[in-house]
């Protein structure tokens, strides 16, 4: 009897949270899906079914094409940049150096700051003004004689979005470093020693032993960074405001829904974002939890 009562009690304890998640995550996703196949435009809800019209509209919409292209460019540069810097710094920090703790804290602190603050500061660092109005990093490069680095930053035609990845890398590469450093610390010292005894040099040890062992970390980092970049929104707004050349799905969604009242179209963008994140996250969740259960 006691066991049974306790099972009921244990379920009762988590029920409020489970209900909250069921309604606010899954219920609301379902609700959004319903809006995405409705013709709701304007302030009053209108759930008249229009099939996939909103989705088809998006795929024929030049603005959405820009969004997809921008997301791809941003993701590639942001993820690869963070991985390379993160791995490099982690390997350097793992060389038993003096002041490791201080370096680690310096690399990580941007994680504590909001994308809005990061964006506002980088907006002034990446000021594209030229000539006598030159300022920010351009001014710094110019006075250091590094003129070739002077750039139009995010106002560069066509490739502007690539520069938005710089503040994003600034913010997230320290985190990637921490992930890699955790992985490096988990590699048994004996493995390196054995390789040294066998005559492997430092480079070979990294190339053939350590990097392959870090592959799972790279995968986790790619998935975490990738899903952040699909959702990127406040950083772009804070650096550049809302402007078409730097548009991404999350900004389009916000504008079309809450400024333009095109709820059906906004919901369709929300669902597409969800699907693209789910493709990354669901296999990751299943894989991670299964490995955990095997341990």
């Amino acid at each position: 009897m006691r066991i049974k009562r306790e099972t009921v009690l244990s379920v009762a304890l988590v029920t409020p949270s489970i209900l909250a998640i069921a309604v606010f995550v899954y219920g609301f996703i379902g609700w959004t899906a319903r809006v995405s196949v409705s013709q709701w435009k304007g302030l009053l809800p209108d759930y008249t079914f229009v099939g996939l019209e909103n989705f088809i509209g998006l795929f024929n919409d030049p603005r959405f094409h820009i969004d997809i292209r921008n997301t791809l460019i941003f993701t590639i540069i942001f993820v690869i940049g963070s991985l390379i810097i993160g791995l490099g710094l982690a390997i350097l920090l793992d060389q038993n150096i003096k002041g490791e703790g201080i370096f680690r804290s310096l690399y990580l602190f941007p994680m504590a700051i909001s994308f809005i603050v990061t964006g506002v500061v980088w907006r002034w660092l990446m000021n594209p003004a030229a000539g006598s109005r030159m300022s920010g990093l351009n001014l710094l490069f110019d006075s250091l004689g590094l003129d070739f680095l002077v750039s139009q930053w995010h106002t560069t035609p066509y490739w502007g979005i690539a520069f938005i990845a710089i503040p994003a890398i600034w913010q997230m590469s320290g985190y990637t470093m921490a992930l890699y450093l955790g992985g490096l610390r988990g590699i048994p010292v004996q493995l390196r020693e054995a390789a040294q005894v066998d005559g492997a040099n430092e480079f070979q040890i990294y190339r053939f032993i350590i990097l392959p062992l870090l592959r799972p970390i790279t995968l986790s980092a790619m998935i975490i960074l990738g899903h952040i970049s699909l959702k990127v929104f406040d950083l772009i707004i804070a650096v550049a405001g809302k402007q078409l050349p730097l548009d991404v799905p999350a900004i389009y969604m916000w504008q079309t829904t809450f400024d333009g009242y095109f709820f059906g179209r906004g919901a369709a963008i929300g669902i597409l974002l969800l699907l693209s994140v789910a493709v990354l996250i669901i296999p990751y969740l299943i894989f991670t939890l299964r490995t955990e259960a095997e341990l």
Binding site: I21, L92, I97, M111, S114, V120, W124, T257, G270, L285
Partner: protein, 274 residues
């Protein structure tokens, strides 16, 4: 081992210092600009150190942003504390009382922390309107509490999973029920997990922009929305924006400086590596 000798590899510090410079540049600009007097501020001299320490920019930024800083403070404490309490109860049950179906429920809860909030924001706004919480801070707190459940549950579950189950069993032999085991055995040793989770929730609620901009009306704006609005306006000078950015970053920066160890643990939980 030769390769572990410190003196051998002075050149390693070159890239390490260069990276440190990269991470510090925005901080440098924020602080140097903030401490200049109005007469000294000019985009031409933005890299120069201030001639004297002045607080003009901080005072003006604070005057403009104070109400919004208070909105943020009033919102993050309840948000962090309530979602931590929920997380600890959930974590306890999911780690120590695995009922039937728990293996499906746990990942289903976790998925909630990865979803793009664009996929729930329309119903959320409708819901807040229906229950008359639209525009105010309580609604924003509710959103942070609910969408914080996955990460807080995960952190506590991983923390409690490392507590020997024998402890719970022993307490049951002594006549403890499910609740008194939690109260007498687990809660007293939960302080580290609470610190991690509260810091994490504090930081993410403080730094949030999407929920804030969609759910609150101008008088209830948290600092992120107010700062972004300030940055977008043509009237407010860039030096005041810099000082404002620093004020907006200060609370989480202080937490990071003094409790960074725990902050890092919270981050790792986010990577599912408790």
């Amino acid at each position: 081992m030769m390769s572990r000798l410190r003196s051998h590899r002075w050149w390693i510090y070159i890239p390490l210092l260069m990276a440190a410079l990269f991470y510090l540049i925005p901080m440098y600009v924020m602080l140097v600009t903030g401490f200049k007097g109005f007469d000294e501020v000019s985009l031409k001299t933005m890299w120069d150190l201030p001639k004297a320490i002045r607080f003009d920019n901080f005072i003006e930024a604070y005057q403009k942003l104070a109400p919004f800083l208070w909105n943020s403070l009033n919102m993050v404490f309840p948000a962090a504390i309530i979602s931590s309490i929920l997380g600890s109860v959930n974590g306890y049950v999911l780690a120590k009382w695995k009922f039937k179906g728990a293996n499906i429920i746990f990942p289903a809860i976790l998925f909630g922390m990865f979803i793009p909030y664009q996929s729930i924001i329309i119903p959320l706004v409708e819901f807040m309107r229906d229950v008359n919480m639209y525009g105010g801070l309580p609604g924003l707190v509710l959103a942070h509490v609910i969408y914080g459940i996955p990460i807080t549950t995960l952190t506590f579950r991983n923390y409690y999973a490392n507590v020997p189950t024998e402890l719970i069993e022993a307490s049951r032999i002594d006549g403890c029920g499910i609740l008194s085991s939690f109260w007498h055995i687990l809660l007293p040793i939960s302080a580290p997990a609470f610190v991690v989770v509260i810091i994490w929730q504090f930081t993410s609620a403080w730094n949030d922009f999407l929920f804030a901009v969609v759910l609150t009306s101008p008088s209830n704006w948290p600092i992120t929305v107010a700062l972004n609005n300030m940055a977008g306006s043509q009237i407010i000078a860039w030096n005041v924006q810099m000082a404002g950015s620093f004020l907006a970053a200060l609370p989480t920066l202080l937490i990071y400086i003094f409790l960074g160890r725990y902050f890092l643990r919270g981050l790792m939980a986010g990577a599912l590596k408790g």
